[in-house]
Symmetry: C2
Subunit: 286 residues, 2 copies
């Protein structure tokens, strides 16, 4: 990145600015992977990123390189400047016209942070102490992935794994849907379900496929089939359209179906994951 | 609607067709309300509409006026033609170029049905036999409303109420997110929360606000505060950004918070509703 003058009134107005051009490239997945950086958009995401970066003691090691804000956003969210100062992160004021260059959504509200990608090695977070791990296999919709990550965070999960064929954890829509949880829960990417399941089992977790195909345990009648949700559990959720393929179900120790009391055929991925993950959390804390 | 010839090869190719123009108007909320009709888009929604229309005995009285399909969709979903015949619904083949006229999404996949709006009076569905009623107050996102409606259906809810300031139940995105559940669960619209809560109480339901503001019961520790989820329950969910305002909480018998075991601030509306509604269903069936 070419050096640019840092002054108290650091202000970028040209789309040809090297900083803007470098950030703009991060709207593409291939560049995010190459650079090991991604964009967090919107005051909530940026706030969580800065808080986590200032902490330096959280479970997720967050590094924020720089923050871009418009004049309007600067005025509207003065707390972000304080947080950036505390985290020792440089803030650039940018012309509002530059926002679309580095943001693919209207949701950024003029606040965008450049962060280091967060994913950690599988073996670092799936350990003998793990109680709850969430695995998304071949999930394609960024909003769904983010929603499940947020639920996993709320339920106190130890880690979330996105398998190699899943959506990018750093897709702007994924980041936004996590509502900051991406900066709270350790995330593992680029591994296969069989590797994850094998390690989980070796570390003492039961590996459960959320899957309605029989034979499956009934989530609400665990005793009928000897399901023990109080045990450390790794939940595996499949693609939003076709679920977990047979091959992936076979990697798990068992399948669990959410009972349908009405006439819906199924739940969508986000709500199904919420019901399963929270049922684990409820049972484990009893 | 001007009469058009009905033949075995009924085919519409002109955007000036009276049928297409009449259907196109239904992409606007005001026209849906005026005409008492709406569009169901996509093979899954249309299939569920036709199945429900043929039944004539379901809890939801579904009427489908006509179905538009492209040649490609006709070939890909031959079952829809059988279902339409069984429900005595006329199918028009339309030129693919006409689809955007009557569909605001790419998700229609060339299959669109014109249906009669489904909402029923509040007093018809909130009765002394009701066990589970879901109320959405001031929910604005159509996808969220549809997601909760689908969860309510899956959990066996007796009815879903969208208060007068909520998103339109017949918004194409709402309809699609219900994945057919709009044709399974009775829906009430255009009433205020206080009216709904009052009737619910009069019919023996406890009215619970899903709301983290203290004082709230802990969903997972009901005994601590004497919460009995096995009782007939009316759940009230508020707006996705600001929840239930104080005034609305006061209409309820109590508030229930989903415990957060990790660091997320909250869940999103769809997943929060899923956790609460399924916890009711689980407790009631024990």
């Amino acid at each position: 990145m070419s050096p640019e003058p840092q002054t108290a009134n650091d202000r970028i107005t040209s789309p040809r600015s090297a900083r803007i051009r470098a950030a703009a490239k991060l709207t593409r997945r291939s560049w995010r992977a190459k650079e090991g950086r991604f964009l967090a958009e919107g005051p909530q995401s940026v706030r969580e990123a800065l808080v986590a970066a200032a902490e330096r003691a959280g479970r997720v090691r967050v590094r924020v390189f720089e923050v871009f804000v418009t004049d309007e956003a600067r005025e509207r969210h003065p707390d972000l400047l304080d947080l950036a100062a505390r985290a020792r992160v440089r803030v650039h004021t940018i012309a509002a016209e530059l926002v679309p260059e580095i943001s693919d959504t209207v949701a950024s509200q003029g606040v965008i942070a450049v962060c280091a990608t967060l994913d950690v090695p599988l073996t670092e977070v799936v350990t003998g102490d793990s109680r709850l791990v969430v695995v998304l296999s071949q999930v394609r919709d960024p909003g769904n992935a983010g929603t499940v990550l947020r639920v996993a965070d709320a339920a106190g999960a130890d880690a979330v794994v996105l398998t190699s064929s899943s959506v990018d954890a750093y897709n702007p829509k994924t980041v936004r849907s996590t509502a900051g949880s991406l900066f709270h829960v350790p995330v593992v990417t680029g591994v296969g379900l069989s590797e994850v399941a094998e390690l989980g089992r070796a570390r003492g977790l039961q590996v459960l496929a959320a899957d309605a195909h029989p034979p499956a345990h009934d989530l609400h009648r665990p005793r009928d089939t000897g399901l023990d949700l109080a045990r450390p559990t790794m939940w595996a959720f499949g693609n939003e359209a076709w679920g977990l393929p047979e091959k992936d179900r076979a990697e798990c120790d068992g399948a669990v179906a959410i009972p349908i009391y009405g006439r819906a055929e199924s739940l969508n991925l986000g709500t199904a994951a919420a019901v399963c993950i929270y049922e684990s959390a409820r049972t484990a804390q009893l």
